[in-house]
Symmetry: C2
Subunit: 194 residues, 2 copies
C-alpha cells in the first residue's frame, strides 16, 4: 500500500466537514453586510479544496460547476462537449476580466456525437444530435497556476479517461502549441456563451 492508498479518508472527511461548518458560520456572521452570495461562498470552498490535489486527481465536484459554453468538434474527435468552470473561471468570464486569476479551473467534458434516434422518430426527421458514449479522453482541465506552469502560459493541462485515469504528462506538451495561438485571451479557446 503506498502513501496515497493509505490516506485516511474518514479523518480527512471529518476535517473537511469541520472546516465547512466553520466557514459557513463565518459566512453567516458576514451576512449582515453581504447577503446575496451564499451559493457562491459554498461553491468557492470546493474550488479551493480541489486545486492542490489536481493533476493526479479529478477536481472535486467539477460536474457541479457552472456552465460556460458548448461545442461540436468534427473530424477525428467527432464529439459534442460542454465547458464548465469553477467560481474563479465563471466570475472572470462574466466580468470580462483577463488574465484569469490563480486557481481558475476550466473543465471540458466530451461525449461521442451521435444522432438521437428517439428524438428523430418523434420529430419525424433527422434532426437531433446528442451525447453518446464517453470517448477515450472524456475529461480535460486547464488549471491556472502562473508559477507552476510558467512554461505553458501559466496553465496546466490534464486529461482523464472515463475511468478517471490521468493521461501521461507528455500530453501537456501537445496542448500548448495550439493554445498559445490565443495568447490575447489568456490561452483559452472557449468564449462565454452569450
Amino acid at each position: 500500500m503506498n502513501a496515497v492508498e493509505g490516506f485516511n479518508h474518514s479523518v480527512f472527511k471529518r476535517d473537511m466537514i469541520m472546516k465547512r461548518i466553520t466557514l459557513l458560520l463565518v459566512g453567516v456572521a458576514t451576512l449582515a453586510g453581504v447577503v446575496a452570495l451564499t451559493a457562491t461562498t459554498s461553491r468557492h470552498v470546493t474550488a479551493q479544496e480541489a486545486t492542490p490535489i489536481f493533476v493526479t486527481e479529478i477536481p472535486a465536484r467539477y460536474r457541479d460547476w457552472r456552465f460556460i459554453s458548448v461545442a461540436h468538434e468534427e473530424g477525428e474527435l467527432n464529439d459534442i462537449r460542454t465547458i464548465l468552470g469553477n467560481d474563479k473561471a465563471i466570475n472572470a468570464y462574466r466580468a470580462g476580466k483577463l488574465p484569469f486569476p490563480e486557481g481558475t479551473i476550466i473543465a471540458r467534458i466530451a461525449w461521442r456525437y451521435v444522432p438521437s434516434e428517439e428524438n428523430n422518430k418523434i420529430f419525424g426527421r433527422e434532426q437531433s444530435f446528442v451525447p453518446g458514449e464517453q470517448p477515450p479522453w472524456y475529461l480535460q482541465f486547464m488549471v491556472k497556476d502562473s508559477k507552476k506552469y510558467a512554461a505553458t502560459g501559466g496553465w496546466g493541462y490534464a486529461q482523464f479517461d472515463k475511468d478517471g485515469k490521468p493521461g501521461p504528462e507528455s500530453d501537456m506538451k501537445k496542448c500548448f502549441p495550439c493554445h498559445q495561438a490565443i495568447k490575447d485571451r489568456d490561452f483559452v479557446f472557449t468564449r462565454y456563451a452569450p
Copy 2:
C-alpha cells in the same frame, strides 16, 4: 403605470434578503445532522423563490444551474444548446428517479450553430462549431406543477426571447404533442449526459 411596473422592488428585495437569512440560519441549525449539503442548501433557496413567479418572469439565476446535457438540432432550428436544471431536477436525474418532483425546472438555452473561424484557423481544418447569436426563442423552461399543469402531463412550458419577453401562452400547446410521446420518462426528452 400598471401594477407590475409599480411593484416596489426595494421592499421585495429586503424581504427576500430577510427570508434568505432566516433560511440560512435554519440551515446552520440543521448542520449538526446533515453537513455535506451546504452548496445544495443555498442553491435550493433560489429554486424555491423562482417557482412562484414563473411564466411571466425568467427563473432567477437559471444560468447558475447545473449541467444536464447538450445537443445540436439541425433543420429549421439549426442550434446548439445546453440543458441545465435546478437542484430538484439534478437530484432526480442523478438518482434516476421518476417522476420528477414538484418544483423541478429544466432550462434549455440555445444559440445559432456556427463554425468557429478562429478555432478552425488554429487547428488548420474545418472542425469547430460553437454558439453564435441568440435565436428568436433563446430560452425555454419546463416547470413541474402537477396540479397547475395537469392538462399537459404536469409540466408547464414557457419560452422567452433574447430580451426576456415571454412567448404567448398558446405556444405551450405546441410543446405537449411532442413531449407526450415520452410519457415513460415523465415527458422529458433530455437524458442526463453520462
